[in-house]
């Protein structure tokens, strides 16, 4: 038993204490969090724009058709662009998207973090857009009609009546998207970024002892995810309470 504990301690020293290797883990974690957070913000912005266009188009199709005009053609075009974006992003692996962003789109840039933020943001935007659109379309059409019949215009109805209800419905799904995004960033090592995963792998390559660094990395992801999950649960309970 003592032997086992001793060897465990030796491994721990070798992998994290010697040469200050723990600093790699900290730096890697920092990159992972920065990429995740920034990509999330970009994803939310893209998601909100796309979901607005798509649901506006779906909700007002009949009106657009009857009233015609240039507005209908603009919306039709925008909706088409959004559709292509969603199809491409959701139909290809995120690793491939990251590689394309790094080696083709930003071939001249060697700042991996920015490229990763861009790629993950674009990717996440597609999923966020569909979550939001699903949320908007799930609200009973009677709510729209009630808002419009009181004299609110389309945007006011969205803002005062629909969005607050959508927000409650989609918050859990959005938090789950955040959690998946965090885990997906573990492929950032493909384009030379030292994120949490890559940091653990680098230590493994240096010390030839895979157990400690890789398990440590896994535990860190797990802890972050558990904390986030717990927060989502709290949030859901809160939202449910406020509706009574």
């Amino acid at each position: 038993m003592n032997n086992f504990l001793n060897s465990l301690y030796d491994q721990f020293r070798l992998n994290f204490i010697d040469d200050n290797r723990w600093e790699w883990i900290v730096k890697g974690l920092k990159s992972t969090l920065i990429i995740t957070l920034c990509a999330l913000i970009i994803g939310l912005i893209i998601g909100i724009i796309i979901a607005s266009i798509r649901s506006t188009y779906d909700k007002n199709l009949e009106t657009f058709k009857l009233r015609g005009g240039i507005g209908y053609h603009i919306m039709k075009f925008l909706n088409f662009i959004c559709h292509i974006y969603l199809t491409v992003v959701r139909g290809t692996p995120v690793v491939v998207q990251l590689l394309i962003a790094y080696f083709i789109i930003f071939a001249s840039s060697r700042n991996g973090i920015y490229v990763a933020i861009f790629a993950f943001g674009i990717n996440s935007g597609a999923y966020v857009a569909e979550i939001l659109r699903g949320g908007i379309m799930s609200i009973d059409n009677g709510q729209f009609e009630a808002g419009r019949s009181l004299g609110f215009n389309y945007l006011q109805t969205m803002r005062h009546i629909i969005i607050p209800q959508v927000f409650k419905n989609v918050l859990p799904a959005l938090c789950n998207e955040f959690i998946s995004l965090l885990k997906e960033t573990s492929i950032a090592g493909y384009v030379g970024i030292v994120d949490l995963t890559k940091a653990g792998d680098l230590i493994r390559g240096r010390t030839f002892s895979p157990f400690m660094p890789l398990i440590a990395v896994a535990l860190i992801y797990l802890i972050i995810v558990l904390i986030l999950t717990q927060l989502v649960k709290l949030l859901e309970r809160r939202l449910r309470n406020s509706e009574r």
């Binding site: 009609e145 009630a146 419009r148 019949s149 209800q165 409650k168 509706e243």
Partner: protein
Amino acid sequence: MNDKTLIEITDLQKYYKGGEIKALDGITNKIEKGEVVVVIGPSGSGKSTLLRSLNLLEIPTGGSILFDGVDITDKKTNIDHHRQKMGMVFQHFNLFPNMTVLKNMTLAPMKLLKVSKEEAEKYALELLDTVNLADRANAYPNQLSGGQKQRIAIVRALCMHPEVMLFDEPTSALDPEMVGEVLDVMKRLAEKGMTMVVVTHEMGFAREVASRVIFMDEGKIIEEGSPSDIFDNPQSPRLQSFLAKVL
């Protein structure tokens, strides 16, 4: 158009699938201030479509609607502005589930008419009192019965000081014992002189409260007249067979 006319409908059409389905097939009618017009007819006759066209929730494919002398079917008309003066009550209430009764009622006056919160709440409470629901001001819609929800929906629309109230089968989704309380509120509203257009299957209400009854079938107005004309002396065979089934 004389100054008593509030809504003037001319040759209103609503076609689907390029004219294959004619929900409204050339409706012409005038609704005067203070009138209570009840629209009856079999399901699929276009009566709801007609009502929903009046505030353009359904956009007609042809014809025109003058409201207060303004053609609201004109693309250049700001329909949102005119809808503020047309209250609407739906079959399924459509209260906002995430807001209290009071918030449901004060949202539109505060945001659209720029009424202060105190003023909006004061008026809302006054209206709630008239429908005996002042004690439910802070309740959420899912804590209310169907009849209560519909009474709230009526006073929510009234908070905007509408010139006309449109009722789209307001009692069809209610349990039978709650129909009376909603019809009561509507009756009192009519007695106060509110202009009302009501689509309903409640023939008793039509007979008692309506100043004019319109019978529709297949997107057309088949017959119209005073309640006694329509119910006691129906002319067209279609109205006669309809009444034989529902009375």
